[in-house]
């Protein structure tokens, strides 16, 4: 009897496994589409986002209360997953009624701007100029609703700064880094004194540099300038020469990087507002984190998202209403309070709720006001073309290779040149 029962269990397991394998093959297709059938199309909308954009169930319930329209919220784990899903279904049906798009692949989407519904004219002017400009297509249509943005500042460990004899007060620290030179100066002093790295990763420094350039790898007309752009070479030199010696890791998001954040293996990070939640979440017991209202040489935007309404949706009018409502200043403020996603709406940035917002975890730092100041310091909006992701990723790899000692500076650069000539 025992064996028979076991055999049956095995058969069952085998069956489940087979089903799982078959299902895995089509898993990509199911999520968004399955919600289409839920009752009356006018009464239900689907919203697809990624990571945590701050659209909590409570917030969406408010929308339902106001309009009687239910919202089904699908969250992808990462923006990469959302990207894969988005382009697989764009123009073919199956996307959610409202889709979130991240700035890094936003230009890719702009190529297909005719497949999404434009934003009504009366909403123009709700967002910062550059946020709107990036979402305006060749015909002058604004095609996406801006959600958040990433005005960078510097996050630092006050306790580690103190141990190294550096100032710890937020205002004093802010004065330490007027320029990148000063930043690297402080960094190397710190490394000399403590023998531990100053900043988390070399590739985030590259982000910092590239996000201050007007043009990175491509020109708006599609010309590739990656290899010739002196700014890119300068950024690369800076990161390799000055950044590597003070960095703990080559890149972010590795297991080691997360572990080091809690362990206090580095003292500072480039810090867009959406990073606050990540630090607080990964290092809940660390008490020293603070935020300086400063960024070397002005400001820079790192990340941020838009909402778009796919044109082949079942109910684009209601979907427009939802996108409008979610990106309305008052609701974006709620999202900011929920997840730290800093609003890109002019009005939201002027509101009391944002200006007076402080973050307990970061020693009560006025993250709202810091975000506003850093956003005001942004002078250029980097043009990120269709292939930005590919070029940037390859350059990050070059830096990683130098960091790991696999190649020297010139070899890694030349490998990059060969690599991008194939794109």
């Amino acid at each position: 009897m025992k064996t028979r029962a076991l055999r049956r269990t095995t058969a069952l397991l085998a069956g489940v496994a087979t089903t799982a394998i078959v299902l895995a093959g089509c898993a990509g297709g199911g999520d968004a589409a399955s919600n289409d059938g839920d009752g009356d199309a006018t009464a239900t909308l689907t919203l697809a986002t990624f990571n945590d954009m701050g659209y909590s169930d409570e917030l969406l319930a408010e929308f339902t209360e106001e309009t009687g329209i239910k919202v089904v919220h699908n969250k992808a784990a990462t923006s990469n997953d959302a990207r894969a899903n988005f382009f697989q279904k764009l123009g073919k049906g199956g996307l959610a009624d409202v889709e979130a798009v991240e700035v890094d692949w936003f230009t890719e989407m702009m190529k297909y701007s005719d497949l999404v519904v434009p934003v009504p004219d009366d909403l123009k002017g709700r967002w910062l100029d550059w946020k709107e400009a990036a979402a305006t297509d060749a015909d002058g249509n604004l095609v996406a609703y801006g959600t958040d943005m990433g005005p960078q500042s510097i996050c630092y460990r006050a306790d580690l700064f103190e141990a190294a004899g550096l100032p710890t007060d937020r205002a004093e620290v802010a004065e330490l880094f007027p320029t990148w030179d000063a930043f690297f100066q402080v960094g190397s002093e710190y490394v000399e004194k403590t023998g531990t790295p100053f900043i988390d990763s070399a590739n985030s420094l590259l982000q910092g540099f590239v996000n201050q350039l007007e043009l990175a790898y491509e020109e708006p007309d599609g010309t590739i300038i990656a290899a010739e752009n002196p700014d890119i070479r300068a950024a690369y030199d800076q990161v390799i020469d000055n950044g590597l010696p003070i960095s703990a890791f080559a890149g972010q998001w590795s297991d080691d990087w997360y572990a080091a954040m809690a362990g206090g293996e580095f003292a500072a990070m480039l810090c867009p507002p959406w990073m606050h939640g990540i630090i607080a979440g990964e290092a809940p017991e660390v008490e020293g984190w603070d935020i300086a209202n400063a960024f070397p040489e002005g400001g820079g935007n790192w990340g941020g998202s838009y909402l778009v309404v796919p044109a082949d949706g079942k109910n684009t009018e209601a979907a427009q209403k939802l996108a409008d409502w979610l990106t309305a200043p008052e609701n974006q403020i709620k999202a900011f309070e929920n997840a730290g996603t800093f609003p890109s709406q002019v009005e939201a940035q002027d509101s009391d709720a944002v200006t007076s917002y402080t973050n307990e975890y970061f020693n009560g730092a006025p993250t709202g006001q810091i975000g506003i100041d850093r956003a005001n310091a942004i002078e250029v909006s980097t043009y990120k073309g269709e292939k930005y992701f590919q070029y940037h990723d390859a350059l990050q790899n070059a830096i990683t290779r130098v960091f790991d000692g696999l190649e020297d500076k010139e070899t890694a650069w030349n490998t990059w040149l060969t690599e991008i000539s194939g794109f």
Binding site: L13, Y112, D256, N397, F423
Partner: protein, 352 residues
């Protein structure tokens, strides 16, 4: 000799003999039953082939078409470019690195995996307590989702905070740069693969071992052969066909390795210097990272051809090995039948 002599006789005698009873079609039901005999088997197996044509053959053909085009996935349209995509792939240094990595990971995983599986299977084949428990438990790792395996092993193989490196340092060996050196990254990935597949292969080999006639072992024991001699002289030869099956499946699986290198770091793109970029990982990146489906399709076909080539090689090996073993006669079916008939005749004649 009698066999060859008797053959013409039978042929010559055939017309003289009363005509053999031909199964004449008498009624519709008779005809139906004849069709039933001929057609039914094909009908029974048709569901698979119909399904295969829809979900297997069609995508393969479609991929072939796309591989000659510059394809825009979103607008579902393309421009014919001939063999450009193939040329592009074959001129990419990344492709050759990926090929090297794939084979390296394949060897590092398949060889220890099979050796280990044979060893565990032979242990499980012995008389131990709670057999079923042990047999079931070797399959447990196989049930764990590959991504979960990846996450766990990633934490263990982390360069600085990883468990394995801290163990190594504990016994005085310096930390291994798992994510930097190509060889070590292959070892780490192969470990994940082995963890998952050893149990699966063990069970298949165990099943084959159990089918070996126990009399052989008894006889060997009587003859004074020890367990090791018995293993090499009885178990291993009997395992040959099963081993070949296991080798072929693990070759195909090994060449398509994706999950483990995909989750080996946070980006899933094979490392900064393509240390652990495999062919399928590269394929995925071209398709879903760069949205270049023409190139991805060409890549898929190249992979298909590689697997086909190695599959053929496997097949050739299989045939020689099986023939050596003498399981199948070298004579064709017709020759065998003829020989059998001849023997029968000889026997009859001698009885007469």
């Amino acid at each position: 000799m009698t066999a060859t002599e008797s053959r013409p006789q039978t042929r010559a005698a055939a017309p003289a003999a009363p005509p053999p009873r031909q199964p004449r079609v008498i009624s519709f039901s008779h005809r139906l039953s004849r069709w039933d005999l001929k057609v039914s088997p094909y009908l029974y197996i048709s569901p698979f082939f119909i399904m295969f044509a829809i979900v297997g053959l069609f995508p393969i053909a479609y991929t072939a078409v796309i591989s000659f085009m510059d394809w825009d996935l979103v607008r579902n349209s393309g421009e014919f470019v001939g063999f450009d995509q193939y040329v592009w792939i074959l001129t990419q240094p990344h492709f050759w690195t990926a090929l090297r990595n794939t084979f390296s990971i394949f060897v590092l995983s398949s060889v220890p995996q099979l050796l280990l599986a044979i060893f565990i299977a032979s242990v499980l084949d012995r008389n131990i307590r709670a057999k079923t428990f042990w047999r079931m438990s070797v399959l447990v790792p196989y049930v764990v989702a590959p991504v979960a395996v990846g996450l766990i092993f990633n934490a263990m193989f982390a360069d600085k905070s990883g468990l394995i490196n801290s163990w190594l340092q504990l016994i005085g060996i310096s930390a291994i740069p798992w994510h930097v050196e190509p060889f070590w990254s292959h070892v780490a990935i192969a470990t994940m693969v082995n963890y998952r597949w050893v149990g699966y292969n063990t069970l298949i080999l165990l099943a084959a071992m159990q089918a070996v006639n126990r009399d052989f072992y008894e006889a060997a024991t009587v003859d004074g052969a020890g367990p090791i001699r018995q293993f090499f002289s009885i178990t291993m030869p009997s395992l040959k066909p099963t081993l070949i099956f296991v080798i072929i499946t693990s070759t195909i699986g090994g060449l398509q390795i994706f999950d483990e290198p995909r989750v080996f770091d946070q980006f899933g793109r094979g490392g900064s210097a393509q240390q652990w970029l495999t062919i399928t990982l590269y394929l995925y990146d071209i398709g879903w990272g760069q949205w270049n489906f023409g190139r991805a399709a060409a890549m898929a076909w190249i992979l298909f051809i590689i697997i086909l080539g190695i599959g053929l090689l496997n097949l050739l090996l299989t045939r020689t090995l099986v023939r050596d073993e003498g399981l199948r006669s070298e004579l064709s079916k017709r020759e065998q039948k003829r020989a059998a008939r001849a023997t029968k005749k000889t026997v009859k004649e001698s009885q007469r």
